[in-house]
């Protein structure tokens, strides 16, 4: 068994993901440099702390930490932190605040009347409309399903854990939803909104925290399932 492989209970061999640090050599020439990497002297190195991953000829590093960097098209959960006469400023948990212009909301807003629709402290489900070369970000609410969120609870997790919380084809989030009967939106920016029975919200949050904080990830789905089954009953 190679050092980079681990034996699972069923006897199958599976490759262990490699954690790389900035400056670590990833490839010397066959692959193309993907995200989380940089090129120097024809060789590809990691630029971030993360997991080395190869996909269709590219070598990437999936970051294990770091702030959310907005990508056009991402669904995000934002918090209104400032209002102007023709726009609002939204905190999407990234290095850049994101303006939301009156033209990008589903309401007809008169100049100066912005506070009537969204106020400081409100939470919205929005989409990243564009990110330009200088990293100026804009968000929009003009799309299906985008709206102001009311009630429920919001939590922040590390944005790099979002894929794990969603799970393979949404399996993990579905597991949590069905056991707790909660509506759950997971923003790409690591912000999650949950709504439902208050006791169930608390349980769903605990399950999500298990995923976010767990360093040990072997059998994660099983453990989350065990926890949920021990505290709730799945809905029909």
């Amino acid at each position: 068994m190679k050092e980079s492989e681990v034996m699972y209970k069923d006897g199958a061999l599976k490759p262990v993901r490699e954690i790389v640090v900035p400056g670590e050599l990833l490839d010397s020439g066959k692959l193309r440099p993907g995200s989380g990497t940089y090129v120097s002297d024809g060789k590809i190195y990691a630029s971030q702390l993360g997991i080395k991953s190869t996909k269709s000829n590219y070598v990437n590093v999936i970051p294990l930490g770091g702030r959310y960097i907005p990508v056009t098209g991402d669904n995000v959960i934002g918090k209104v932190i400032d209002i102007g006469p023709s726009n609002w400023l939204i905190d999407i948990n990234s290095p850049y605040p994101a303006p939301l212009h009156v033209n990008e909301v589903p309401w007809r807003v008169e100049f100066g009347d912005t506070a009537r629709y969204l106020n400081v402290g409100d939470t919205i489900l929005a989409k990243v409309l564009m990110v330009d070369e200088t990293k100026r970000v804009q968000v929009t609410m003009k799309d299906q399903g985008l709206r102001k969120l009311l009630g429920g609870q919001i939590i922040d997790i590390s944005h790099s854990k979002v894929p794990r919380v969603i799970g393979k084809s949404g399996s993990m989030i579905q597991l949590i939803k069905s056991h707790t009967n909660c509506r759950i939106f997971v923003g790409q920016n690591g912000r999650i909104w949950l709504d439902g029975d208050i006791e169930n919200i608390v349980l769903a949050i605990r399950a999500i925290r298990m995923i976010d904080e767990g360093a040990q990830t072997l059998r994660l789905t099983e453990r989350v399932k065990e926890y949920l089954e021990s505290v709730t009953k799945p809905s029909q």
Binding site: V6, K14, P15, V16, R17, I19, V21, P22, G23, E24, R32, P33, G34, S35, G36, T37, Y38, V39, S40, Y45, S47, Q48, L49, G50, I51, S53, K55, S56, Y58, N60, I62, P63, L64, G65, G66, R67, V71, P95, Y96, P97, T134, K135, S160, V162, P163, R164, I166, G167, K168, S169, M172, Q188, A215, Q216, T217, L218, L220, T221
Partner: protein
């Protein structure tokens, strides 16, 4: 009258050989609020480093439209030294903050984050010579822990001279009687020197010997930095990571 700092067997006051490092422990991700953090115990030094960022640059007028600023603040806490130090920056801390910021600026891909600031805070909790080196070593780990894109990590160490001999990594006692002090920071893979200061008296031969010790030590410290970061995250299995949230493959070249 100064006593001998190196005995007949070539051993120093704490039993080390000329080219031996003090014991070093590094731990990554030790604080909850900070975006990245690291704790280093280096001999009797205790150092905590934290990173916030990239985040909006304050003060606004310092914002750079083409890149992120790397702003480091090095500080010694009041009871880190035997004679209590009045809280607040002194001239020495300001200078050290500057040279560390410059070293870190070199490795961070600042152009990825225009108009922001990457704020690095180094707090010396207990001092025993070589704090700026321990601080920079910790800061590099904290930056990587914060997910900041960077070329490499930066190990740092000080070489000195006592009793006419070049020695690696002076402790406080040695530093008080030292004849030269040469803190450096180096990227081992490329050999690039990002921080260097010197005071005292060294011949060019002594300098070369010192750099040999320093570079060698940096290789070892670099491994410790790497290990600290890798240890922070347990082995990740395939589960849940196969299908990343679908994003287009971006080419990072050019």
């Amino acid at each position: 009258m100064e006593g001998k700092m190196i005995d007949e067997n070539g051993l120093r006051v704490d039993g080390r050989k000329a080219d031996e490092l003090r014991p070093i422990k590094i731990e990554a991700g030790v604080l909850k609020r900070a975006d990245g953090s690291a704790y280093v115990e280096w001999g009797k030094n205790k150092v905590l480093a934290a990173v916030y960022g990239p985040r909006e640059c304050h003060p606004r007028h310092l914002q750079d439209p083409s890149k992120a600023l790397v702003q480091c603040r090095y500080n010694m806490i009041a009871f880190s030294v035997s004679d209590r130090k009045r809280p607040g920056p002194d001239r020495r801390s300001v200078e050290i903050s500057k040279i560390i910021s410059e070293a870190l600026e070199y490795v961070v891909f600042t152009e990825y984050f225009p108009r922001t600031s990457v704020d690095v805070y180094i707090e010396i909790l207990q001092a025993n010579a070589g704090t700026r080196c321990a601080g920079l070593t910790a800061a590099s780990v904290a930056l990587a822990d914060a997910g900041i894109p960077m070329k490499d990590m930066i190990p740092s160490v000080a070489v000195g001279k006592i009793d006419g001999q070049v020695v690696l990594d002076l402790c406080k006692e040695e530093d008080n009687h030292g004849q030269a002090d040469l803190p450096i920071a180096v990227i081992p893979r490329t050999g690039e020197i990002l921080l260097m200061q010197m005071d005292g008296h060294l011949t060019v031969d002594e300098f070369n010997k010192a750099m040999e010790y320093g570079f060698g030590a940096c290789e070892k410290i670099y491994q410790l930095q790497k290990d600290a970061l890798k240890r922070r995250y347990a082995v990740e299995d395939i589960e849940g990571l196969e299908e990343e949230a679908p994003r287009e493959q971006q080419d990072m070249e050019g």
